[in-house]
Structures are given as structure tokens and as C-alpha cells.
């Protein structure tokens, strides 16, 4: 069997854990000479996959190439991992991460200044999840640690590089659009909170009102949220496959 470079690259990307950079491929196949060449070959592989209706595609992210399944298969695959679906970041986590991503390297105090609240627990969680790391120390009194994002951060959000971060809104855009902000607030809950005294009603009232939907759908199971989405996925699938 004569192996051609296209096949070797395909095998390498398949076998590698995480995104594989063109640079690394060139180390293994120096005869390919340029990374541009390598990218061309990878594009050819991906085109072939697409033409063949393969459920797999090759995406570029975190400075490398990685094979992943196409979106429509997500609902099936998620069933393989039902029990341990990766937990999404909380709103707090995302906010803090956004500040760190756009302003890195940044110290904890600076993050807190922007958010107006303490960042203690969040920073730990983000480090623990390998989304941020210590990048150095600020040359300032106390030499505080500076934080920045990791390569895994790019992988997690499917970004090629930090340049691919969504662009920050200009001030006039910010003023216009409240939609995002509203979206992020749980409006139903707000109605409940605000009434008379900006946020009070008895527990029975709140719980009672909130429970109705949950009670019918998720009887005794615990992670009711995840289960719900699982059920939805299931429904989608039936719809799609028929």
C-alpha cells in the first residue's frame, strides 16, 4: 500500500487528541514544505467528506485542525453521554471570562472593578476548567497575578484565535440594544420578584408558581433540566428521521 500525504494527514488529524496544527504536521511530513500546502490538502480532505455526505467534518480552531461530527448529529451523540453532559458555564462565569478574554492579561482586581462584584470563586472555577490560566505578574505594587485565556478556551468556543472573538459593540450600539441584556435576565422570575416590594412574595407563591411546569414533566428525576433537553432531542430526532 502506497501511502500518500493526504491519507497520512487524514490519519494524523483523526488520531490526534485535540486540534492538530499545520506546524506539527510539517514536523512529521517535512517534504510538504509549506503550511499553506498542508492547509490546501486538509481542505481537499474536508471537501471530499462533504461530497460523500460524511457525518464528519474538519474544522479549524485553536490554531489547528480537528475532526468533529456535523451539527445535525448532536442530538444522537448526546445520548451516548447523557449522564455526564458537560456543564455549561454560568452567566457569572461567562461574564468574567468575557472580561478576561478581551482584556488579558488582567488582574483579579481589574475584573472586579468592571463587574462590580468579587471574582473569587469564579476565577477558581475558570482555572479549574482550564479556560484561563496565570499569565504572569503585573509590575505594580503587590505584584498581583495576571490572568489570560488558554488554548483550550479557543477550543471550547470553537475559535481559530483570539482575533475571532465576537467584536465588542460600540457605545451607540450598546445603548440601542437592550435585547441581549433582557434575554439574559429571566423575565418570568423578574415578574415574580418585582411586584410590590421589588422582589417579594412568599415562598409558597413562588415555588408554587414555578413548579407547575416542572412537576408535570420531570417526576422524580433529579437533573430535570438535562432530562428535559434530552427528551426534546429525542423528539427532534423522531421528527427528522421520519
Amino acid at each position: 500500500m502506497v501511502l500518500d500525504n493526504e491519507q497520512i494527514i487524514e490519519a494524523l488529524i483523526f488520531a490526534h487528541d485535540g486540534p492538530l496544527s499545520a506546524k506539527k504536521i510539517k514536523e512529521i511530513l517535512p517534504e510538504l514544505e509549506s503550511e499553506k500546502n498542508i492547509k490546501k490538502i486538509i481542505r481537499a480532505i474536508d471537501d471530499r467528506y462533504e461530497k460523500n455526505n460524511s457525518p464528519i467534518k474538519i474544522i479549524e480552531l485553536a490554531g489547528g485542525f480537528q475532526m468533529v461530527t456535523r451539527e445535525p448529529f448532536a442530538s444522537w451523540i448526546s445520548q451516548l453521554y447523557k449522564s455526564r453532559s458537560r456543564s455549561r458555564l454560568t452567566r457569572k462565569g461567562l461574564e468574567t471570562l468575557a472580561i478576561i478574554a478581551y482584556r488579558q492579561p488582567i488582574t483579579k482586581v481589574e475584573v472586579e472593578e468592571i463587574r462590580g462584584v468579587s471574582a473569587d470563586g469564579v476565577i477558581r472555577t475558570l482555572i479549574e476548567r482550564n479556560l484561563i490560566t496565570v499569565k504572569g505578574r503585573r509590575k505594580a505594587p503587590g505584584n498581583p497575578l495576571e490572568y489570560g485565556t488558554t488554548t483550550y478556551f479557543l477550543e471550547y468556543f470553537g475559535l481559530k484565535s483570539l482575533k475571532d472573538l465576537p467584536s465588542l459593540k460600540e457605545i451607540d450600539e450598546l445603548l440601542k440594544s437592550d435585547s441581549h441584556f433582557l434575554e439574559s435576565l429571566d423575565q418570568v422570575a423578574l415578574e415574580k420578584i418585582l411586584p410590590e416590594k421589588l422582589g417579594l412574595s412568599s415562598v409558597d407563591e413562588i415555588l408554587g408558581a414555578e413548579e407547575q411546569p416542572a412537576a408535570t414533566e420531570a417526576p422524580s428525576s433529579e437533573a430535570s433540566d438535562e432530562d428535559d433537553s434530552g427528551t426534546n432531542d429525542g423528539d427532534d430526532r423522531e421528527g427528522e428521521s421520519q
Partner: protein
């Protein structure tokens, strides 16, 4: 009567302020400071009325709002012309907009997270031959600085001790106690908090069970009622759990 406030709605004072500005439909560059700070204070007061530990961050913001309000009461220096007059609200507005900028970005990042989570990569590749002896210990291939820090803590914590050291083991976990409570509720319309507590052996166990109870409330698997102060608490399943 017990109260529950969904405080987690507001991530911080800026969140609350932005919300009030929107709710009152006012211009962010022309915040009616008296009105907004009044509402902000009302919110804080209700929190305090509930004996809630009001986060220092919110109180700090109260102080800022009050000081801005106070500066309005001072007469404007006559000599300066309008252009040079700096609005005491400007710094706050700038901070608000700065915060809002990242908040909006974080919502776009959430979309990216969602999209990315629908792409699955190959999870497993059995290249490395299993011939080498494998110990019970997990192999750590991609360790980060957090792992390194935890390793140091663990090494120092487990350092052979010269001094006597008493460690109290917590024998129950929140998960275990949640399951236990749900089992207790199986086939029953209700149980009393007192009944649950009767079997407890230690304070720690009680606390863990109590936390489990709160977790279940949060997950809406149970509801909790109390007729009056110090009356026994009635715990009901959100739906009657069938006996198997």
C-alpha cells in the same frame, strides 16, 4: 412565613442598575439619580429586611449613588461655563457601559459555546499499547497550573504529621441525603422535617441533610411548607413518587 428571593438574577450592582434604568425607560446619559437610587435602596432594604447578608458590592454602589445625589445638591461653581461642568454621573455611566459591553459579549460567547457543544470530536483513540504496566493512578496528560496547585496542596496536606491531629469525617454527602429524602417521600404525600431529623446522629449530618433539602427545593423536586414560625416544616414531593 418564609421568603425566598431570586437574588441570583442580579449578578451585581451594575446588573441591578441597568435593570432599573431599563425598567424606568430613562436615558443612560441622563439618569434621574434621585429616582434610581431610591429604587436601588428599596431593593437593598428589602434584602436587609429579610436579614439577608447584603453583599458589600451593593452597599458600595448605594454609597456611590448617594454621593452623586449629594453632589447635585451643592451649588455649581458660577465661574465655570456649562461645557466644563463635569456631570457627577459620568463616571458611573462610563462604568455601566463598560460592564454592559462585556456582558453583551458574554452572551455572544454563550451562543458560541452552544454551537461548539454540538460538534463532537473523537473521544477515544487506542494507539498507546496497553502492554506497559498500568498502575491504579490516573495518567495525567494535560495537566494545567490548577492541577499543579492542587497537587501541592494535597502533598502538603498529606505530609506525615508529627503532631496529633483530629479529623472529623463527614460520613454523608448531599447527594446521598437527597436520595435518602426522596426515598423517604416515596409513596407518601408528605413527611415532617422533625421526622427526618430524628434519625440524625450528628450536627454535621443534620446540616448536610438540610442542604440536601434546599437542593431538592431548588431542583423543584419537593416543596416545603410551614404554617407559622417554629411550626414543624412539611416536606412534600413535587409529584407523588410511585413505589416501585
Amino acid at each position: 412565613m418564609l421568603y425566598r428571593v431570586k437574588l441570583d438574577i442580579f449578578e451585581g450592582p451594575f446588573d441591578l442598575l441597568l435593570f432599573l434604568i431599563r425598567k424606568n425607560e430613562v436615558d443612560i446619559y441622563d439618569i434621574p439619580i434621585a429616582q434610581i437610587s431610591e429604587q436601588f435602596l428599596a431593593y437593598i432594604e428589602t434584602m436587609q429586611m429579610l436579614d439577608l447578608d447584603v453583599a458589600g458590592d451593593f452597599i458600595e454602589m448605594c454609597a456611590i449613588l448617594i454621593s452623586i445625589k449629594a453632589r447635585y445638591l451643592l451649588p455649581k461653581p458660577e465661574s465655570e461655563n456649562e461645557d466644563e461642568y463635569d456631570d457627577p454621573r459620568m463616571e458611573l455611566v462610563e462604568r455601566l457601559l463598560e460592564y454592559k459591553k462585556y456582558k453583551e459579549a458574554s452572551i455572544e460567547m454563550q451562543d458560541l459555546e452552544e454551537q461548539r457543544s454540538r460538534l463532537y470530536s473523537r473521544a477515544y483513540f487506542d494507539y498507546i499499547p496497553k502492554t506497559e504496566e498500568i498502575s491504579d493512578e490516573a495518567y495525567l496528560d494535560n495537566v494545567n497550573i490548577f492541577d499543579l496547585m492542587m497537587a501541592l496542596k494535597s502533598a502538603l496536606d498529606n505530609m506525615p504529621k508529627v503532631t496529633e491531629h483530629q479529623v472529623e469525617l463527614i460520613r454523608v454527602t448531599v447527594e446521598e441525603q437527597s436520595d435518602w429524602i426522596l426515598r423517604k417521600l416515596t409513596g407518601k404525600p408528605m413527611i415532617l422535617f422533625r421526622e427526618l431529623m430524628q434519625t440524625m446522629e450528628s450536627k454535621m449530618e443534620i446540616i448536610v441533610t438540610f442542604i440536601a433539602l434546599l437542593e431538592l427545593m431548588k431542583k423543584r423536586l419537593i416543596t416545603v411548607h410551614q404554617s407559622e414560625n417554629f411550626d414543624d416544616i412539611r416536606i412534600k414531593p413535587a409529584v407523588i413518587i410511585e413505589e416501585e
